[in-house]
Symmetry: C2
């Protein structure tokens, strides 16, 4: 049976990037379908009726939702190509812990980017920097989070990298000044084809922010 893989996604999504990278690492051809989030398609609503959000991975007609769950699904479905999670249960749990921790940075980032008041934005920025420093400490002097090979935790974090310039511009700070090791790591990651192909253009993300801010306010 030939696999039919469809990805419902939206180009700036830091979550969609994770799934795109995982598919690229596994050399899986997929049909990328850009979604209009202001006018959600019948397919998106049918495939993710609970959250109605992208990314949705559709494999042979069946949907998988939530980006980190998609990355694990991709790893388990195509186990022979480039493993994304370690095989040892303890190391797997460790990777999942850091994937989960990275997702816990979102409330801070939400306040930083969409906060209505500057005091809220400042507190979001502080939360984000503190958490990114914790992630940086975990990386330490390793090449990638899992050691010498690019994998699950790298995929979880690099999704945010296309937004770093936007965070810096709207938060008025330098991530490199705060977390130089993270920036060096991100530059290594971007050398991989899977990442370079999947990340959104930082400039375009910055251009999009005013529009997104307007939409957030309407919501």
């Amino acid at each position: 049976m030939v696999d039919v893989v469809i990805l419902l996604d939206y180009w700036p999504s830091m979550f969609g990037v994770r799934t795109r990278i995982a598919l690229e690492e596994k050399n899986i051809k997929f049909d990328y379908r850009e979604q209009d989030l202001c006018n959600k398609s019948a397919l998106l609503l049918e495939m993710n009726p609970v959250h109605k959000k992208i990314p949705v991975l559709i494999h042979n007609g069946k949907p998988v939702c939530e980006s980190l769950i998609q990355v694990e699904y991709i790893d388990e479905t195509w186990p022979m190509e480039y493993p994304l999670l370690p095989s040892d249960p303890y190391q797997r749990a460790h990777a999942r812990f850091w994937g989960d921790f990275i997702d816990k940075m979102l409330p801070g980032l939400g306040k930083l980017m969409w906060g209505a008041k500057s005091v809220e934005q400042e507190s979001g920025k502080k939360e984000f920097i503190d958490m990114l420093k914790t992630v940086e400490f975990e990386l330490g002097d390793k090449t990638y989070f899992g050691g010498e090979t690019f994998g699950y935790v790298d995929i979880a974090l690099i999704g945010f990298y296309g937004w770093f310039d936007a965070f810096e511009k709207y938060g008025n700070f330098s991530i490199e000044a705060e977390c130089p090791t993270i920036i060096a790591w991100a530059k290594r990651c971007v050398k991989r084809d899977s990442v370079a192909k999947s990340l959104p253009d930082s400039e375009k993300v910055i251009e999009l922010i005013p529009e997104l801010k307007k939409k957030k306010r309407v919501e």
Copy 2:
């Protein structure tokens, strides 16, 4: 090598319950160590330096944090005893999706239980009921979330059951009136030794709430 398994936990924890049940289902003997969360032990701080929270599962000296990650770790480490997650990658992704969804009920429950204003409590209650109805729809007429066998999603949700009476009392509503199928499912789960042994006493949880409210306010 004999496995040494320690669980740092706090008796009313809906998260700790998950890990206790998973260990019981696998027939793993463990050393339960009750933690004083107002005066955190050196062991807790050493084993979970990032979040400093219970439950922490310590297996042969190495910590695993976050309850659903612990459940997966337990399943992967002792795969021969009673499987908790399905073996099929698609069904595993489906179970993980619902585990994640159940954790997304927490902000609503937080507002319901610890909200400073009644408008906040009401909105938390509504969020919780809406989400629990979605979970109930997923359960449908199945015996357990995975079908005929008790597993990962059941463990994720039943952790909350010891708190249901407290939610009802403080939210002034009946979960059974809103979600009768969930209550019938919970009563089935409680017949399992692993669950009966692990759930906190509802009466004691209710008695504890004023003290917890006071602490939340101080924080």
